[in-house]
């Protein structure tokens, strides 16, 4: 049974032009111990999906789903309190801009202290402070922060983005979650620290059996760190499957275009040649095309594409396209 199972998740909001569906029937499932990459351009609704799972979207967003289950529990039918309990302990989230995700007015040490599991504290009142400090020190060491004294006393603005992100991760692992949602965890972090963060994720995944939903637009990270991926375009899932299969043979034209936009230096790129991209740009939310949202930009689009394609399956590889990039001889 998958740990997180999402079927037809839609996220809508009311605008002056009527109700707009920012995320359209997205499917996602994560098995225990898996690292799943959720890939798409900025604005494709990846972060919305993550926030919908966490239940931290504003009131103006309307979330509906056929199934939004975590470990067999329907998240949408939980009360706010039950959900909060689940959030801190079972599902954790790491955000895009670590520095702004920490309270600027509070020391890092105190914020770490707040996210410690207090019910695990079995010592008397007078030893609690010692216990907490030891726990915090342990957590910080676990994420690779050596000078815990200084970090604990600092305010977020005194630390670098990389250290802040590590602190965020330390907070999330305080409760030993089973699912970690990482929403573009390294976009604002310098290159050296990026690899550290990913290694940390890998370590958590291997040692603590944490499943990770890695949201990113960086295909190179996806290729090297994830086992399977789901590709989103404009709020629709276009393709999902094992990472190596998709990177070897994508079925959806959008995935193909994404992969082609990655420079491969072994293929002898011509000097100053242009990288392949799709023509046009991502449509704005007010002017979403009907049917397959890639339609107007798709090189293979035909009349049939004004209807939303059904999810199809071919050897453990899901895609939604009327005209997939499969050799015609092969039965799809």
């Amino acid at each position: 049974m998958p740990l997180l199972d999402i079927r037809n998740l839609s996220i809508e909001f009311d605008s002056p032009h009527g109700r707009i569906r920012a995320v359209d029937r997205v499917n996602l499932s994560i098995n225990p111990g898996e690292i799943l990459g959720l890939v798409g351009e900025s604005g494709s609704g990846k972060s919305l999906v993550a926030k919908a799972i966490m239940g931290i979207l504003n009131d103006r967003w309307h979330v509906s789903a056929d199934r939004l289950r975590y470990n067999g529990v329907d998240l949408l039918s939980l009360s706010a309190k039950e959900r909060r309990k689940l959030m801190g302990r079972e599902i954790a989230m790491v955000f895009q801009e670590p520095k702004s995700s920490l309270d600027p007015n509070d020391t890092v040490g105190h914020q770490l202290h707040e996210s410690l599991p207090t019910d695990e504290c079995k010592v008397s009142f007078f030893q609690q402070k010692k216990w907490r400090n030891e726990r915090i020190r342990g957590l910080l060491h676990q994420v690779g922060i050596r000078d815990h004294e200084r970090v604990m006393k600092s305010y977020p603005h005194e630390l670098s983005e990389g250290v802040c992100q590590k602190v965020m991760i330390a907070m999330t692992i305080a409760y030993k979650p089973r699912l970690l949602i990482a929403d573009e965890p390294t976009t604002v972090i310098e290159a050296g620290a990026q690899a550290q963060i990913f290694k940390l994720f890998r370590k958590l995944n291997q040692l603590n059996e944490v499943s990770i939903l890695l949201i990113t637009h960086d295909l190179e990270h996806v290729e090297s760190w994830t086992e399977s991926i789901t590709v989103m375009y404009c709020g629709q899932t276009v393709e999902s499957g094992l990472t190596k299969h998709i990177f070897k043979q994508p079925f959806h034209p959008y995935t193909m275009a994404l992969l082609q936009s990655m420079p491969h230096f072994d293929e002898m790129l011509g000097h100053k040649s242009q990288l392949t991209t799709l023509s046009g740009c991502v449509p704005s939310l007010q002017h979403l095309p009907i049917g397959c949202r890639l339609g107007p930009r798709c090189p293979r689009a035909q009349r049939k594409c004004v209807q939303v394609p059904q999810m199809q399956k071919s050897r453990g590889h899901y895609f939604s396209c009327h005209f997939p990039l499969i050799d015609d001889e092969e039965p799809s």
Partner: protein, 343 residues
């Protein structure tokens, strides 16, 4: 930290110097002799005139005059009033506590009413409670103080006769003014009927305080609402929600402390509004405070008193804004750091 406090202090000194210069210019420009305007001595005898020339260095150039003007004022010599011939300094000491008392109580009421309502509106954003608070604050903000005061006097004072319409205390109670604050003076006095005196003082306070509190309360409401709402949309609130912290912890440990900074800085800017409406309120309720005194002085063309009132009120506002700055620097970790604190 100390560096910034010293810097703010310098700013304070400079601003006050400019303020003194403007007041000095005003005294020079006003009709009449500078010696009369600056000291309040009317029909001075030749001996007095010589003494005044000596004290204010009126025979020297304008810069010396300005410096000695500052010197005299700082040492508490505000001259004497045209109308009462009393030293203005003594009059200030007599009237200022009444104003401070009124303003402090009104501010307290405004905070007690405005702050929770603003928070409520921010939490219930875009819901009926929010619209209610917004509507009430808009109505309160639009009601002119003088009209509200007069209506209150007409209804509660004259028609229902619940509350006294003027003054601070009934003449029956002979309270020795020690501090100038009625409630403290009653406490310090050895009256046998303190309870009655307290009740009377409160009855006198109710209408002016509430009238004066209306506008600050609506401002506190709106400022709190905006600030808290902004903080609740911040990233770190989302992050702490995702960590499963309880709404109360998020509100009181994270959102509020962060919202306090914009609230404090905005409120300190609104202090001048409070002071102006306090003056109007004092006139309406015949409250023997500095505003009443100053407006009387304006009617009487009592130049030394006008200049003294200007110095006191403007100086108070400058002082408070500098203190707010210091408080903000002390409570905002980010501003304490070297780069960001320089602004």
């Amino acid at each position: 930290m100390w560096f910034y406090i010293v810097r703010r202090f310098n700013l304070f000194v400079l601003t006050v110097a400019v303020l003194y210069f403007l007041v000095f210019l005003m005294l020079v420009a006003l009709p009449g002799d500078l010696a009369t305007n600056i000291s309040g001595q009317q029909q001075a005898s030749p001996a007095q005139l010589a003494e005044l020339t000596q004290t204010y260095q009126l025979d020297k150039n304008w810069f010396n005059q300005y410096i000695s003007f500052i010197n005299q004022r700082i040492h508490g010599n505000f001259g004497i009033s045209f109308t009462t011939n009393q030293p203005i300094y003594d009059e200030i000491l007599k009237f200022l506590p009444a104003t401070i008392e009124l303003c402090v109580y009104a501010t307290l009421v405004a905070l007690i009413v405005g702050f929770p309502l603003g928070m409520l509106a921010a939490i219930q954003s875009q819901k009926p409670a929010d619209f209610m608070v917004l509507g009430v604050s808009l109505i309160g903000y639009s009601i002119p103080v003088f009209w509200l005061g007069v209506i209150a006097i007409m209804y509660f004072g004259l028609e229902l006769q619940w509350l006294p319409v003027a003054g601070r205390l009934n003449l029956l109670y002979q309270i020795e003014p020690i501090t100038g604050f009625t409630l403290i003076d009653i406490w310090l006095s050895n009256l046998e009927y303190k309870q009655l005196a307290y009740r009377d003082a409160f009855a006198h306070l109710v209408m002016p305080t509430l009238t004066l509190a209306v506008i600050p309360a609506t401002m506190v409401m709106r400022i709190t609402r905006t600030a808290v709402r902004e903080e609740l949309n911040a990233n770190y609130i989302k992050a702490s929600q995702s960590r499963g912290l309880s709404p109360a912890t998020i509100m009181f440990r994270h959102a509020l402390p962060n919202a306090m900074q914009p609230i404090i800085s905005q409120l300190s800017l609104q202090l001048s509004t409070l002071l102006t409406s306090a003056m109007v309120t004092e006139v309406i309720f015949s409250w023997p405070g500095i505003g009443n005194w100053l407006i009387d002085a304006i009617y009487q063309r009592d130049y030394p008193v006008i200049s003294a009132g200007l110095l006191i009120c403007a100086g108070f506002i400058i002082l408070v804004s500098v203190l707010t700055d210091v408080v903000l620097i002390a409570t905002t970790p980010k501003r304490r750091s070297a780069i960001d604190g320089s602004s």
